[in-house]
Amino acid sequence: MPDNSLINIFLDGVFIENFILIQFLGLCPFLGVTKETRSALGMSAAVIFVMTMASAVTFVVASYLLGPMNLDFLELIAFIVVIASLVQLVEYIIRKHLPPLYKSLGIYLPLIASNCAVLGLVLLNRMEDFSFVEGIVFGIAAGIGFGIVMVLMSAVRERTGLVRIPSSIKGVPYAFFAATMLSMAFVNYFEVIPI
């Protein structure tokens, strides 16, 4: 993208390069936590927080710690450690202050650490050579885009939960069909098809 203004990066992150529907990052929570809107919202909030923090911290780690010491090949390992500690922090906060949410998120909360959306975001930040502020904006945008799709998807699944469908389509295949529709809407509406 030639025009790297912040508003562009933001819209890019939320819609055009939507993490779930366009880039296929973070599909596990997309399938696992979208059975009800409440937990989808909680999960999205946690992901937005982790993504924003991860963008900031990894930028500092990469450019002031690994860069000057010529340890660029350790980037991947360093990023994972940063993300894992952030997730641990979020877990403590949610368990202390929002116990019901903690229960409904279940295994997916610690799994944010191994969620490809967060690590993908950090790696994309590095690939695009975003500055500190640009990285944070992209992180917030990606998190919001993730949240929008999670909430849309959970609404679709809640609404159609009682529809009678063949047993072999129930569950995951059904979710993928719904995702096809959502993804089509995103692709066409924001005109990312390079014709």
Binding site: S114, C116, P166, S167, S168, V187
Partner: protein
């Protein structure tokens, strides 16, 4: 365990414990990089290498890894091999490396690999862990190649594998299948078919 043979363990990874269709692991790469058969195979081969090496190392060190910090150790082992395969790929096959893009380093967080380390390699002997990696890796390869070939065939009208044209059909190719919705659609259909077959087999068996 008496009834556990190498062959049965291998088959289990391909069919009953197929990483994508049965365990629902590794979905992100299965959808993201399968715009062509070649990309799918490249991705699966890289994942298989990492899975194999990680299983071997973790299985041989399983008695020395303290259980409380086992997950960070697994991740470190996996990240090391991912860094290696990333560098090798960049050096010998730069086109594939750039086609797979961010998904090469993302092998680290492929739940399939850490899942096998936790569920299998840390509890079983080295030889069985290697066979398990081979089976799971083959299952992953088959799935990615299938999705990739379907999308490439209907998206471009032909399948080109390593420079050779394998098959060509005279259809109006639509970019829908190459685009993200096509990936969701393909895996939805495939998964429904797999479930349908499994239900039928259960009916017959029980």
């Amino acid at each position: 365990m008496a009834n556990k043979t190498y062959w049965s363990e291998f088959l289990r990874g391909v069919t009953k414990d197929n990483p994508v269709f049965a365990l629902l692991l590794g979905l992100c790469p299965a959808l993201a990089v399968t715009t062509s058969m070649e990309n799918g195979i490249g991705m699966a081969a890289a994942s298989m290498f990492v899975l194999m090496c990680a299983n071997l190392i973790i299985s041989s060190l399983k008695n020395h890894i303290p259980p409380t910090i086992r997950v960070p150790i697994f991740i470190l082992v996996i990240a090391t091999f991912v860094s290696i395969i990333g560098m090798v790929m960049e050096a010998y096959s730069p086109a594939l490396h750039s086609a797979l893009g961010v998904f090469v380093p993302l092998i680290v967080v492929n739940c399939m690999i850490i899942g096998r380390a936790e569920a299998y390699a840390s509890k079983n002997p080295v030889s069985f862990s290697a066979v398990d990696a081979l089976g799971i890796g083959t299952g992953f390869l088959l799935v990615l190649a299938t999705i990739g070939s379907i999308r490439e065939l209907f998206g471009t009208g032909e399948i080109v594998l390593f420079g050779f044209q394998l098959i060509q059909i005279p259809i109006d190719s639509s970019s829908f299948m190459i685009m993200p919705p096509g990936a969701f659609f393909t895996i939805a259909i495939l998964m429904a078919l797999v479930n349908y077959r499994r239900d039928k087999m259960l009916e017959r068996g029980g």
